[in-house]
């Protein structure tokens, strides 16, 4: 029999039910690092870096908007697609991949919404509009809608294996939109700019403290994504366990009811007289 023993890498919270809550310590470290790097990004972005020659202070929004979009598109989309593929592949099929994909889609939806919000707040003063049916904006909005659809599908009651297969297919549909968002600025004439840091010739667009602040923004949002993903994955595990145990309790209650009726029936004659 396997037993879970707390060690250096794992902390447990004691409970009357035993050492049930396992929280990896590395995840807490990632969360703390994410918060610290986020504070540094905000400090550098708002107070240390100089205003841009063209955009002035509005360029400060670009220290958070591209990192948020990167997480929404590549990290969340990549984990959801990889997890779903690995679940659908018979040799690697495990609920671990299904839960990981589900966690990634929900966290990705938060980042996709923030991508649209921060982009809109930048676009209003620079482009003069809150929203336009630009290919990059529209495909990103579609990404958010697909992620919300996935989350709705996941709430439909079903057998865990059926739900996992259904959601894996849905996550692959979400993933189809990721390259469309990425290449939208190349495939269509868009209002949205192309590469933020590098152009197609791999020449840097950003320099000095602005570059370091932007890179720190990428690191901080990526670390927060990992922390969100870990906590959200844990919730998926707990939800499944509680669901299974509630089912077991219901079944045992039903069995005891059936046994009680059976005992009553065996101690009663067919015509209703007690034997």
């Amino acid at each position: 029999m396997t037993t879970l023993v707390p060690n250096d890498a794992v902390t447990t919270s004691a409970s009357p039910a035993g050492p049930s809550v396992v929280r990896p310590r590395w995840l807490s470290v990632v969360g703390v690092l994410g918060v610290l790097t986020m504070i540094a990004t905000v400090w550098l972005g708002l107070w240390i870096t100089p205003p841009d020659q063209v955009q002035g202070n509005l360029a400060r929004l670009l220290y958070i908007h591209p990192p948020i979009a990167t997480v929404a598109l590549y990290w969340a989309g990549g984990v959801a697609a990889a997890g779903s593929l690995l679940y659908l592949w018979p040799r690697t099929r495990s609920l671990f991949w299904d839960r990981l994909a589900a966690a990634a889609v929900e966290v990705g939806a938060v980042f996709s919404a923030l991508t649209l919000i921060t982009g809109s707040l930048w676009g209003r003063p620079v482009w003069g509009v809150w929203w336009t049916w630009d290919a990059r904006l529209t495909s990103t909005a579609l990404l958010l809608l697909l992620e919300l659809g996935y989350m709705a599908l996941r709430r439909v009651p079903a057998d865990p294996a059926i739900r996992a297969r259904r959601c894996a297919v849905a996550a692959l549909l979400v993933a189809v939109d990721v390259p469309i968002v990425h290449f939208s600025v190349d495939w269509w004439q868009t209002l949205h700019q192309g590469g933020t840091i590098l152009d197609p010739g791999f020449h840097l667009h950003v320099h000095g403290s602005m570059l370091w602040t932007l890179l720190l923004g990428f690191i901080s949002f990526s670390l927060l994504f990992v922390w969100f993903l870990g906590v959200r994955y844990r919730i998926e595990v707990l939800q499944d366990e509680v669901g299974d145990q509630e089912l077991e309790v219901s079944l045992s209650e039903r069995w005891s009811e059936t046994n009680a009726i059976g005992t009553l029936g065996s101690s009663t004659s067919p015509d209703g007289d007690r034997s």
């Binding site: 396997t2 037993t3 039910a17 050492p19 986020m38 202070n57």
Partner: protein, 58 residues
């Protein structure tokens, strides 16, 4: 309030709210599991062996 301030408040506020929400949800489900286990009469030893069963990392 400038657009820059609004953008940072929206991003950081959403991160904070979502992060706190996740922690609260996790605590709620941990409590729900404890209740479900006490209803089902699951012992810690059984719990540990169950934790290594399906759905774990392959």
């Amino acid at each position: 309030m400038s657009y820059v301030d609004a953008g940072y408040i929206a991003a950081l506020g959403a991160m904070f709210v979502y992060g706190v929400g996740l922690v609260l949800r996790r605590r709620r489900w941990e409590r729900a599991r404890q209740v479900a286990r006490s209803d089902a009469g699951v012992t810690p030893a059984t719990d540990a062996s169950a934790a290594a069963a399906p759905g774990g990392h392959p």
